[in-house]
């Protein structure tokens, strides 16, 4: 099976200079491999570093040492070494990320928020918007909201727009941070279906799922972040 | 000139009022101006016994190029007999003892305020313009350092911005005087406040055209037979003024006309602004609608007089 993500020797501490230089060690010498079509669930108690690892996989956080290699257009790119523009390329083409909360862009309507990642990689506008409409429909966002900027949406609506945005393209790698956290059962099931479909297409998924049902439905294995905590922590 | 010959000018002054050193300096600037057509050459001007606005720049240029055997003509908006024209003519008769004339053909030097004579000029003649503001870009760009660079690098887009503004506001290029020109395909130049009617006369003219700005201390020139093109847009080409009327006195239909109010009841007539041209035509027997009316004739003269400045 083809490896899509390969993490080795990853160490991350936070140094809080505004608080007298307090050091928060999160994990050390962490290794992880994720294959095509596999869904790995990051596991551990609150504050154990699940989101920190996930964000590192998206190059949103900068680890202190180690390597994060991701498959990008038939090549490996080490995100800990890559130039910023390379990271932008990787994010555009190869790695999708659904954050816990939608970052609202003023004045951009929901439909456009969802369609944008597809347009950015050159998908024709009508095709991108058609996909966006399909996803918004599946995720039960009423059509009257599509042309409105999501700033005024409820938490759950915003989260579903965020999920639609993450699934509008077929990223080979998808990172999901509690995608079902604020969703009702019906919508949770839609997200589970979307994840299963993505797996079937061969997408490598790393996610954080607090909901045990969801976890059981989608995860192939659990990855214990606490296993890499420094003893000092 | 032989030493025994009696001076014909008021010897309280040096010939042509300016001292020789000043004249030499101004001549050097003139030579440079002729060598670089349209380029504004700075010169160290002298204070003249006249207020700015009375043509001190033109007078200094004339004083520097005039010789005792030259014949001088002075016009103000086309007229030989306004206060301004008369006093400049008198000034040079006194300080240079030169002959003066009203006939364009007879003059060696023609100093002008705001017109080019209608009669064609010939080789050997010098037309000296009085210039109040030499910088065509000034109203758009107040910084001298910047306009100097614009000339240096021929960055003249801004001038078209002014013409654009005209069309946007009036539907056509409404600039009717000081209409900007490109000289010799290189320098943007203000032709002084002559009407745009006169612009085509600058093109390829056999005479030397010299421009003197007294307050700004700049001299520029158009040597004989130089290309002088009025700026325009492809879809709004340059057009000189035209009149439906012809001159009421001499009947000319190809001259620049002034409107003269005759009475309080809206009565008016159009007459040549070039008074010598008009008189010359009448002397040759041409007559306009009111050409036989001596009252109209007198009227035209006083109207010009009142308009000086």
């Amino acid at each position: 099976m083809t490896t899509m993500i390969s993490v080795s020797g990853l160490t991350k501490d936070f140094v809080l200079h505004t608080q007298g230089g307090t050091v928060i060690p999160v994990f050390a010498d962490l290794s992880l491999e994720v294959a095509e079509g596999e869904c790995v669930c990051l596991h551990g108690p609150s504050g154990s570093g699940k989101s920190t690892l996930l964000r590192s996989l998206y190059a949103n956080y900068k680890p202190g040492s180690g390597h994060i290699r991701v498959a990008h257009r038939g090549e490996w790119v080490d995100l800990t070494q890559a130039e910023p523009w390379q990271v932008v390329e990787v994010r555009r083409h190869s790695v999708g990320y659904v954050s816990q909360f939608l970052r609202v862009i003023p004045r951009v309507p929901a439909l456009e928020v969802v369609a944008e990642p597809a347009k950015l990689v050159g998908m024709p506008a009508d095709e991108a918007e058609a996909r966006a409409r399909t996803l918004l429909t599946r995720l039960n966002i009423p059509e009257r909201l599509w042309s409105i900027a999501p700033a005024t949406f409820s938490g759950g609506e915003q989260q579903r727009v965020n999920i639609a945005r993450g699934f509008v393209r077929d990223y080979p790698i998808l990172l999901l941070d509690e995608p079902t956290a604020s969703l009702d059962a019906a919508n949770r099931q839609v997200v589970v279906d979307l994840i299963l479909e993505a797996k079937a297409r061969g997408v490598a998924i790393v996610g954080i799922f607090h909901d045990a049902e969801v976890r059981e439905a989608v995860a192939d294995r659990l990855f214990e972040v606490t296993a890499f905590q420094k003893s000092a922590a | 000139m032989s030493a025994v010959q009696e001076a014909r000018w008021d010897e309280a002054y040096n010939f042509a009022y300016l001292d020789e050193q000043t004249k030499r300096m101004i001549r050097r600037s003139i030579l440079k101006a002729i060598a670089v057509p349209g380029y504004q050459v700075p010169f160290g001007g002298r204070e003249m016994p006249l207020a700015y606005g009375w043509g001190t720049g033109g007078i200094q240029v004339t004083a520097s190029v005039i010789g005792p055997d030259d014949t001088l003509k002075v016009i103000d908006q086309g007229a030989d007999d306004t206060t301004n024209a008369v006093s400049i003519r008198r000034f040079f008769s006194r300080v240079a003892g030169v002959e003066t004339t009203e006939a364009t053909e007879e003059a060696d030097i023609i100093q002008t305020r705001h017109r080019i004579p209608e009669a064609p000029l010939r080789e050997g003649q010098v037309l000296v313009y009085q210039v109040p503001q030499p910088e065509p870009l000034r109203s758009l760009e107040p910084r001298e350092t910047e306009t100097r660079k614009m000339h240096g690098y021929a960055e003249y887009g801004l001038m078209h911005v002014r013409l654009y503004e005209d069309i946007a506001r009036y539907g056509h290029i409404a600039t009717t005087y000081s209409y900007p020109v490109m000289v010799n395909g290189r320098y943007l130049m203000s032709p002084s406040p002559i009407p745009k009617f006169d612009n085509p006369k600058m093109q390829g003219n056999p005479a030397i055209q010299l421009f003197g700005a007294g307050r700004e201390k700049r001299i520029y020139a158009i040597p004989p037979y130089t290309s002088v093109k009025s700026l325009d847009f492809d879809d709004h080409p340059f057009e000189p003024q035209t009149w439906d009327e012809s001159c009421a006195l001499c009947g000319a239909d190809n001259s620049y006309l002034d409107e003269v109010v005759l009475d309080d009841h809206g009565g008016k007539m159009f007459v040549c602004s070039d008074t010598h041209f008009c008189e010359d035509r009448r002397a040759k027997g041409h007559r306009g609608e009111l050409g036989a009316d001596p009252a109209a004739l007198a009227f035209a003269r006083t109207a010009d007089e009142g308009e000086a400045q």
Partner: protein, 268 residues
């Protein structure tokens, strides 16, 4: 790790602007010091930092409005390749600034001709490069006013009758009309009220993406860079103390000053 994939030879890209050890001193005083970075086509770079940290100084030197004390700024002059902009002749540099570059000033008065109509302001750069057809200039003017969401019926009004936000949008149109490859902006949203700012930002974001323009934007507003910039440089006392992807720098700041900057605003 799979053997089918070679390691990391991501295709080289051709830099648009290369800044090397750029330093500007004002007498003994440091404006900016030892700044190096590269801008690629279509990239948006944000510069943030406290007042007096050297942001405007850096921008003014980069955009050739001021000579550096030392260091080099190289720009890709398509045909001629990368050239140090300070070795260009002045007319070459001025031409660059009127065509391939744009400068959006914080104060619209510095970037607009206040006594020339909106249409004339937009058309100026076109006329400067030889446009001589009034009808076409007019069309471009209307087109660009619409693009920056200005009421096209005001094409003949002077900018002094416009609000601050409208003036700023006009300034943007005036700069983008020649489709520059690189735009410098110093606090483009400064002095505008929040709703106007948001609209302007969204507009800028759309234009920059649509036209593939690279931009260097100085601001003190982290929300602005979050929205517009791919990359971020944090300046303090004339030095770049931290640089990287915008979200990296804002979400995982390493330098004490960046942490302070990020923690002092609520949520960006």
């Amino acid at each position: 790790m799979s053997a089918v994939m070679a390691m990391n030879p991501v295709a080289e890209r051709r830099p648009l602007l290369k800044v090397n050890k750029l330093t500007k001193h004002y007498g003994d005083h440091i404006g900016c010091e030892d700044v190096s970075f590269t801008v690629y086509p279509g990239e948006v770079i944000g510069i943030v930092g406290e007042s007096g940290s050297g942001k405007s100084t850096l921008l003014n030197v980069l955009s050739a409005q001021m000579p550096p004390t030392s260091g080099a700024v190289e720009y890709d002059l398509s045909a001629k390749g990368l050239r140090d902009i300070f070795t260009l002749s002045e007319p070459e540099r001025r031409k660059l600034m009127r065509t391939d570059w744009g400068v959006v000033h914080q104060n619209p008065r510095d970037g607009l001709r206040m006594n020339v109509s909106a249409g004339g302001n937009v058309g100026e750069r076109l006329m400067a490069i030889g446009a001589r057809h009034y009808g076409e200039l007019r069309r471009e003017g209307l087109d660009w006013m619409a693009k920056v969401e200005l009421d096209t019926s005001r094409i003949d009004d002077k900018p002094k009758t416009f609000s601050g936000g409208m003036q700023q949008r006009l300034q943007i149109a005036r700069n983008l009309v020649t489709r520059p490859r690189l735009v410098f902006m110093d606090e483009p949203t400064g002095g505008l009220d929040v709703s106007v700012q948001a609209r302007l930002l969204d507009l800028l974001r759309g234009l920059v993406r649509e036209l593939g323009i690279a931009a260097i934007i100085v601001t003190h507003d982290l929300a602005v860079v979050r929205l517009l910039a791919d990359r971020l440089m944090v300046m303090r006392r004339g030095h770049v103390v931290e640089a990287g992807l915008t979200d990296q720098v804002l979400d995982d700041p390493h330098h004490p000053y960046t942490q302070l900057l990020v923690s002092s605003v609520l949520q960006v």
